[in-house]
């Protein structure tokens, strides 16, 4: 299994010549069933993956350019949504989950959360003018105190997406054991096991096709928001040490990616502002990673099927909010995609929060880019922490605070 079949340089040379053999993570499953891992690994150079789902830990940095007179912005709003401006004079960061300043939130439950940071990013990428309202406290070098203007993505000096946590490797299936409807980041959960919501592209999902991060690492070039991006780091909450099945597939949320990419090259169809009723705003992000078939083992992992991937079923009325760790059982993505799973003897309708059809479209688009010679692969400059790296996501160890002093 360990024998090298090809290098990044060899794959890129074939891409430039228009000769690379590229298949999606879905197509490779049938190929492997028909011909076996050994033969397919000889034939296929790249397998493309994709995912399109709500990813709250997303946002964008930008620089609007200096005003005359100059201004050090200390407070900024884009279409009424606060952007973080604790950076240099006219640099900002807007987070996808930031809610509009005048939003009534959950005062009348469940709140609608109609417009937030994700919507601002989508509007910018769509080429729409966005209203900037900014305030400064005035300094000798930056005297201006107020600015109200329209801005447009095309006029910004820099604008790049920087998402601290995307592409979760596996995720919970959310259910509700209580007797009232819950409004969560996992969607509307009907009482007494009325429905089950899940959120992973399963067999198409990037990190489920490279479970041990053998090829995806810092510097990997990817499809991001309809444009080109890069893996910048492991994502927040990257948790490679969770329990895995015999194929190495984590049985829980595990690895994550922090990603970066030029917003100006992206497409509003793949960065979509969303409103989760009773919860808040966010953004659905389209992300796809190409996997170079360097050896048979890489291909073996790419042939993972929905039936091989198990997700934990969690009660969002108690186990999740209170962090009890209780798992009601496991469901495979094959069962979930059938639209019904069995929990505690009850048949429960299952629905996805991430779009499988769009995940497929991303994998196909990336395949097309590579086949046309428009997209070459990059070798990671640093691997992501693996299962034995000792990196472990943990809860906050709270410490009591007495009279302003930290106690022990």
């Amino acid at each position: 299994m360990g024998e090298k079949l090809r290098t990044y340089e060899e794959i890129n040379e074939k891409i430039r010549q228009g000769k690379a053999v590229v298949v999606t993570a879905e197509e490779v499953i049938d190929l492997v069933e028909e011909k076996g891992v050994e033969k397919v690994a000889q034939e296929v150079d790249v397998v493309t993956t994709g995912t399109f789902g709500v990813m709250c830990s997303s946002g964008a940095f930008f620089n609007i350019g200096h005003t005359k007179p100059r201004m050090k912005v200390s407070e900024a709003y884009l279409n009424g949504v606060m952007a973080y401006s604790g950076l240099a004079a006219v640099d900002f960061y807007i987070g996808a989950a930031q809610v509009a300043q005048d939003d009534p939130l959950n005062k009348i439950h469940p709140g609608e959360f109609k417009y937030g940071g994700g919507h601002v990013i989508q509007d910018l990428v769509a080429g729409k003018d966005v209203l900037l309202e900014a305030y400064g406290y005035g300094t000798d070098c930056y005297p201006r105190r107020k600015l109200v203007t329209w801005i447009n993505l095309a006029d910004l000096n820099e604008a790049y997406l920087f998402n601290p946590r995307n592409a979760y490797q596996n995720y919970n299936v959310a259910v509700n054991l209580s007797s009232k409807t819950l409004y969560t980041y996992m969607g509307v959960l009907l009482p007494k096991l009325g429905n089950a919501n899940y959120s992973s592209a399963g067999q198409l999902s990037p990190l489920l096709n490279d479970p041990f991060y053998r090829v995806i690492g810092v510097g990997t070039r990817i499809f991001l928001g309809g444009g080109v991006g890069y893996v910048a780091w492991q994502g927040t909450q990257h948790n490679p040490g969770v329990e895995r099945n015999e194929r190495g597939i984590p049985k829980d949320g595990a690895g994550t990616l922090a990603v970066i990419g030029d917003l100006k090259g992206m497409n509003a169809n793949w960065l979509w502002g969303v409103s989760m009723r009773g919860y808040g705003c966010s953004m659905a992000v389209g992300l796809g990673v190409p996997i170079p078939i360097l050896d048979e083992e890489t291909l073996y992992y790419c042939a993972v099927k929905d039936e091989d991937i198990l997700a934990p079923v969690i009660d969002y009325s108690d186990a999740y909010p209170n962090g009890t760790g209780e798992i009601l059982g496991y469901a495979s993505y094959a069962q979930l995609r059938q639209g019904k799973i069995k929990i505690e003897g009850k048949e429960v309708p299952a629905a996805s929060l991430s779009s499988y059809s769009r995940a497929r479209e991303i994998a196909l688009t990336l395949k097309d880019w590579i086949q046309k010679g428009d997209f070459t692969l990059t070798q990671p400059v640093l691997p992501l922490p693996g299962k034995d790296a000792g990196a472990r996501f943990h809860n906050l160890p709270e410490r009591p605070v007495n009279n302003g002093r930290v106690g022990r």
Partner: protein, 136 residues
């Protein structure tokens, strides 16, 4: 031959207290199933019903209601899927009690069958992109 249709009835304030819908059964021999009914603070009434019976009798019954001052419209005009806003995630599918919203295979696109809709509006609550609209 019996068939059914789902309609939305709007009652102006002066008609809220008149027993009109029962005439569908008494005068026209129709069956009906009330899926939803409410009276707003200004005392306008709204009712979503499924009418079952002979096509001709259904037409006569609805005409009777209209002649008596009710607004009648087809339910399918009132719960809409705005295609260009749908990202085909499926959030609506699990909360839809009648499978009017479903995932078509093998395309995995979310589809909406208006004839199955009972206007519970759960999809409107669940849709993260405001692709499901209720005009009720």
């Amino acid at each position: 031959m019996n068939s059914s249709q789902k309609v939305v009835l709007r009652f102006p304030p002066e008609l809220v207290e008149r027993p009109l819908v029962c005439e569908l059964a008494l005068q026209f021999g129709l069956h009906f199933n009330i899926m939803r009914a409410s009276i707003s603070p200004h005392r306008e009434g709204l009712m979503v019903i499924e009418i079952i019976g002979e096509k001709k009798k259904q037409e006569e019954g609805l005409q009777f209601l209209q002649e008596n001052g009710l607004e009648v419209e087809s339910l399918s005009q009132d719960i809409k899927m705005v295609e260009e806003r749908c990202i085909h995630c499926g959030s609506c599918v699990g909360v839809c009690p009648t499978e009017a919203l479903y995932v078509e295979k093998p395309s995995y696109l979310v589809k909406y069958d208006e004839t199955q809709c009972i206007a519970c509006e759960m999809c409107v609550l669940a849709c993260p992109t405001h692709a499901m609209e209720a005009l009720l």
